[in-house]
Amino acid sequence: MTVSILVVDDEPDVPDLFRQRFRREARQGTYVLHFAASGEEALDQLAGEIRPELIVILSDINMPGMDGLDLLREVKQRRPELPVMMVTAYGDDERRRRAAEYGAIEFVTKPVDFDLLKSQLQQLSNNPT
């Protein structure tokens, strides 16, 4: 069963990196990757229909405009059941604490360990909340 993943990051190379890292899964039809370059864009996409079913949002924290933590709160208000994972280069305690408070299920520090991420995503797709 194919599911969707939304990756929110203002870095233009992030979509390429994720597509290449998840090329096998994409080829096998496990995941469909969606990308948004900002928090606002991510909310726009959420408002529309994301196909197939969206199982997780991976969001950067430092972004111009609405940052990842603001997005997290918005998402949790609209889709409280939707898991959100924060991905950031800033692994400090304050952000970690706030992310957990707002309801992020995971706090991943960059550079992303993709093997670990893939196993976490596997768990999510196997046990949808």
Partner: protein, 690 residues
């Protein structure tokens, strides 16, 4: 009186010249002794002389006055004697004239009886002569001593004009008459028949109350009796003159002397070259002037006066001389101690502070000298104290200056370390900021390098059948290119990982206070870190070895700190120490006997604790000591050190724990890091978060 100087102590430096000047300098005014002598001489001698003069004058006047009163008294006596004579004469003649016997004798004209009667009566009356006259002035009878001058020449003047002279008696009860060169006091009384007489007056035919004749009696004005009386009364120089005729004087008086006035009873006369004092009186007797006086020579008076004055002056002089002698003695007695005082003051003024005065006069001067000595002693003490105080103050000033300089040095050091700390803090922040900025692109580099290698592997698999169909040369070329590409990608990944390691270290600067402070046994923490560092080093290099020396303060009390962070600092310092000591041991031309040693010591300082980490490595050149704590500064070869170890350690010690870290080193001998941490967190600065 015992006087003099005594020298008791060693003199302080004396300026001999100034002393000599002070002592030799003649006083601007006369000395006290001279002044005192002059003053007392003036006070004694001048009044003495004045007194002598005044006394002399007074004596003269007094003597003259006494003399004058004496003369006046003599004159009075003279007057009394004269008056007595006069009175007795007048009364005697009056009484005789009234005598019945005389009347009868005259009446009857019995001449012999009359003569006899007159002789008898003259003796009773004690007068010089007694004569009876008829009415017509013819002498009837005369009685006198046989040698009496004027004998038989007495007559009664017919007119008033020629009375008083030439034995002619004026017809008045009392007059002065000169006869035969002798002045007489004469009294002429009429002799009348008694009213009650009843003696056969018919025989004579004279009626009762009829004048019978005249009775004349006289005494010498200056008769022997008078002179004798005067002599008895000690009137030595009497003088009597009637009108202009000198009656009596036992002095060579040629003419009547000028009479003294009533105011000045004593007049000065010069008689035969001699000066006399005299007093005179005038009597009017029967219209004639009788002047009588007393005289006294002035010479004996003058002599006695001079003697008195001389006695007084002599006594005055003797007194003055005695006074001067006494004065000299007293002045000496008074001025000697004063002179000593002056000398003493001069000597002390010249710096001889040990001078003392030895004056025992038992009066204010001794008290003054004692006071002076006390003052000198005080001066000496305070002088000595002053020198001591000056030394003390100098020492204190020197200490204060040293302290101030020390404080300044400390302040400069503190300023320098503050600047350094600020620099380090901003460098740390900068480092962390850079790390963040580099981290993202570096992630991409690493990710894409890793991906590219994966993709290359996939490409090899996919392209393998096609490549197998190519000729051997082409296949070899493709294989070689593939290998090079794969190698390059691996190198990119490897260097990316290295860069990632650096970035991670850099980010430690902004790691934030994740660790909690807790009370830690510092010695145990050090021991643990030491073991970890040692075994880590051994794991990396089998040949590594070092002697570890521990000098832990056994009385170390627990310290509040973040153990994992401080442990990082320790590990870093131990690692550096191992590296330096080991490097020296393996130096190409090193001493074979060299044994690398790392010495770790702790000290509990109460409010703070101190950790010293010392290695006997090659030391740190002074030129690079300032850069030790800067990020990215390293002396290790590229790839062996990031240059961030000490920078992070610095941050942890100073920023996070509010402590200090310092380095001391001597090239070729040792390097010692000293960390000092406050015991509690009170002074810890909060760390800026990025």
């Amino acid at each position: 009186m015992r006087s003099g100087f005594t020298t008791e102590l060693k003199s302080p430096p004396t300026t001999e010249a100034s002393l000599a000047a002070a002592l030799d300098q003649p006083p601007r005014v006369r000395s006290f002794r001279t002044k005192l002598t002059l003053l007392v001489a003036l006070a004694v001698i001048v009044p003495s002389l004045l007194a002598c003069l005044i006394l002399g004058g007074q004596l003269d006047r007094q003597t003259r006055a006494i003399f004058a009163s004496n003369l006046a008294a003599q004159l009075e006596t003279f007057t009394l004697i004269l008056g007595n004579n006069e009175n007795s004469l007048a009364k005697g003649v009056v009484r005789t004239a009234a005598d019945n016997t005389l009347q009868v004798t005259l009446d009857l004209g019995i001449a012999t009886q009359l003569a006899h009667y007159l002789d008898q009566q003259r003796g009773v009356l004690e007068i010089d002569f007694l004569a009876a006259y008829q009415l017509d002035g013819k002498s009837i009878s005369y009685s006198s001593a046989a040698d009496e001058p004027g004998r038989g020449q007495w007559r009664i003047a017919r007119t008033v004009d020629n009375v008083g002279a030439d034995c002619a008696v004026a017809r008045q009860p009392l007059s002065i008459t000169i006869c035969d060169g002798v002045a007489y006091l004469t009294s002429l009384q009429p002799v009348d028949r008694r009213q009650d007489a009843n003696r056969g007056d018919a025989a004579t035919g004279n009626p009762a109350g009829e004048r019978l004749g005249y009775l004349l009696g006289g005494v010498r004005v200056a008769g022997p009796a008078l002179i004798d009386a005067l002599r008895q009364r000690q009137i030595t120089f009497p003088a009597i003159w009637a009108d202009d005729w000198v009656v009596y004087a036992n002095l060579p008086v040629e003419q009547p002397l000028e009479l003294g006035t009533a105011d000045h009873p004593a007049q000065q006369y010069t008689i035969a070259g001699e000066t006399y004092l005299g007093a005179a009186k005038r009597l009017e007797i029967g219209g004639q002037r009788l002047t009588y006086g007393v005289l006294a020579p002035l010479a004996p008076l003058r002599v006695s006066l001079a003697k008195s004055v001389l006695t007084v002056v002599g006594a005055g002089l003797v007194l003055a001389i005695l006074t001067l002698i006494a004065l000299s003695f007293i002045a000496n007695r008074i001025s000697r101690p004063i002179q000593l005082l002056r000398e003493g003051a001069a000597r002390i003024g010249a710096g001889e502070l040990d001078r003392r005065l030895d004056i025992h006069t038992g009066d204010e001067l001794e008290a003054l000298a004692n006071q002076f000595n006390r003052m000198a002693a005080d001066l000496q003490t305070s002088y000595a104290g002053l020198e001591h105080k000056v030394e003390e103050r100098t020492a204190e000033l020197s200490e204060a200056r040293d302290a101030a300089e020390g404080a300044l040095r400390e302040l400069r050091t503190a300023q320098a370390s503050l600047i350094q700390a600020e620099k380090m803090a901003s460098l740390g922040q900068l480092t962390a900021g850079i790390a963040h900025e580099i981290k993202n692109p570096l992630n991409f580099v690493n990710n894409f390098a890793s991906l590219s290698n994966e993709l290359l592997g996939e490409l090899k698999e996919i392209a393998a059948p096609a490549i197998a169909g190519l000729d051997a040369n082409k296949r070899a070329e493709i294989d070689e290119t593939m290998e090079l590409l794969s190698g390059n990608l691996e190198r990119i990944a490897e260097h990316g990982k290295r860069a990632d390691g650096i970035v991670k270290s850099m980010l430690e600067h902004s790691r934030g206070g994740s660790g909690e402070r807790q009370a830690v046994d510092l010695n145990a923490l050090l021991e643990e870190s030491l073991n970890l560092a040692y075994h880590g080093a051994r794991a990396q290099d089998q040949g590594f070895n070092i002697t570890l020396e521990r000098d832990f303060d056994k009385a170390m009390k627990p310290v509040e700190l973040v153990p994992q962070d401080i442990a990082r600092v320790f590990l870093n310092l131990f690692g550096n120490g191992f590296y330096a000591a080991n490097k020296r041991a393996h130096a190409p031309n090193g001493d074979a006997a060299f044994r690398p040693v790392l010495h770790v010591a702790t000290h509990d300082l109460g409010d703070a604790i101190e950790i010293k980490v010392r290695d006997n490595g090659a030391g740190i050149p002074p030129a690079i000591r300032d850069k030790l704590f800067q990020p990215f500064f390293t002396t290790k070869p590229t790839g062996e050190g990031t240059g961030l170890g000490l920078s992070i350690s610095y941050d942890i010690v100073t920023q996070q724990h509010g402590g200090t870290i310092a380095v001391d080193s001597e090239e070729g001998k040792f390097t010692e890091f000293t960390i000092r941490l406050p015991r509690t967190a009170k002074a810890t600065a909060t760390r800026a978060t990025i």
